[in-house]
Symmetry: C2
Subunit: 266 residues, 2 copies
């Protein structure tokens, strides 16, 4: 056997062997020194296996592999809290803003005012983290009344990475469209909150009107993008924390999925 073949055989053995429980236990034991094994959430000890599972659960919801989900798995409530309040959420948003901007800079802006970028609002431009922090980070059943009370405060903080991207896109000549599941009755507080946060000079703020009541978000948002296309706009980019912000029809040339392990809107 040549040394190259020997290496391949060894690697195959080590790969296959981990499929068996005994070997998995050995591997986990080796890893104890290199990764955090126990963490404390709300005084509760969470095993590393929960962290592993929750990382995989997050992968599956962020790629849309999981499809519709109504609730954070109970074992992942602490994980979601840590993710949302820690540096990683902010880090993810910065990298996605960089991706978005890198693409935007490749677009040849036509100069006819028809180059569009569509932003969702909640968990995309503005953060409702203060509200969700007081409501179990998405683990409680959604209460529309208390959420609307929070929206009426017009105090949702901005997501800094999105504010940076928004400003750069305007500089590059894109027209900015804000397409939100919020309703027309929330137009004033929404505009106030956006301005207070530093967003300005959007081309249009599109909210759900009475004719949109009851429509799934993915249909409502696709219809509104289609209307923009029919007006002659080219939607180069679209940014949203929900797949229903991005998929359907009249999709943008490039879509940018922001993280949100707190809730799923179909």
């Amino acid at each position: 056997m040549e040394s190259g073949q020997y290496l391949v055989a060894l690697l195959i053995f080590s790969f296959i062997s981990t499929a068996y429980p005994h070997s998995v236990i050995q591997i986990r034991r080796e890893n104890h020194n290199s990764v955090a094994y126990n963490r404390i959430y709300d005084g509760r000890r969470v095993r590393r296996d929960d962290d592993m599972y929750c990382e995989s659960w997050k992968f599956s919801v962020e790629t849309n592999d999981a499809g519709y989900w109504s609730q954070i798995p109970s074992r992942c409530e602490g994980y979601v809290k840590e993710y949302m309040t820690g540096d990683r959420y902010r880090s993810d948003l910065e990298v996605i803003a960089d991706d978005s901007l890198a693409f935007a800079k490749t677009v040849e802006v036509a100069g006819n005012g028809k180059d569009a970028w569509v932003f969702d609002i909640d968990e995309t431009l503005l953060s409702n983290l203060p509200y969700y922090a007081a409501h179990g980070f998405g683990s409680e059943t959604f209460d529309e009344n208390s959420f609307n009370d929070w929206v009426d405060l017009a105090e949702a903080p901005v997501l800094p990475a999105s504010l940076r991207l928004y400003g750069e896109l305007k500089q590059l000549g894109f027209k900015i469209f804000l397409l939100t599941g919020r309703t027309e009755s929330q137009r004033n507080v929404t505009g106030k909150n956006l301005l207070y946060g530093g967003y300005s000079n959007w081309e249009r703020l599109i909210l759900r009107g009475s004719s949109d009541t009851g429509k799934p978000a993915i249909v409502y948002k696709s219809e509104k993008r289609k209307e923009l296309e029919d007006e002659g706009y080219v939607i180069h980019g679209s940014s949203g924390d929900q797949w229903s912000d991005l998929l359907g029809f009249a999709e943008a040339r490039r879509s940018f999925k922001l993280p949100n392990p707190m809730y799923y809107i179909a």
Copy 2:
């Protein structure tokens, strides 16, 4: 101020304050006890900031936010190695197989033999990890000749979660189509490797023919799915580690993105 408002104000303050460097430093200091701060890769100390960045980079490539990328960032080479060889890759695959199966069980199989599921092969049914382990886990420039030598060995191990899913889908009555970027010249070794790994009774193994040479994967795979649709097949599900396995036209009703931070095929 009522206590509810006070809480909201406090949370907004704590949220906004983390946007400033000084506060970020404080937060990181607090976290030192709860998360792994230093890890050793190949004798090199990697700062926790690299881990944070690489997690965000992985999010952006797995959601396709990053779009086309040709190279793993050099600071993430150790991260990718650890991910691919550790438990997390396998854990991600198990959760995705569970998602896929949960969806498959909701499908009313027509019983006319036209209910289809499409699988990619490399990094979906079979793993080339032994090859990539010997070639920097994707960090080296792809060398077609040495990769084809590896394929000819027909020794790529199976991904256990995919083998489980494959078997369950057959039990449920789905016809399995294997749609790969491998070429017709690799038909025999590919079939041999699949059978050796435990896969059997696929409906059709579709490889790149001479007329597919030079086509982007996303076009080639969409065309082949379209041909299946034209034959009367309903493609309920599609599983692949590349977005080019899943997007384009004639998309499956549900697509399942498997992880692959080693390389990107457009």
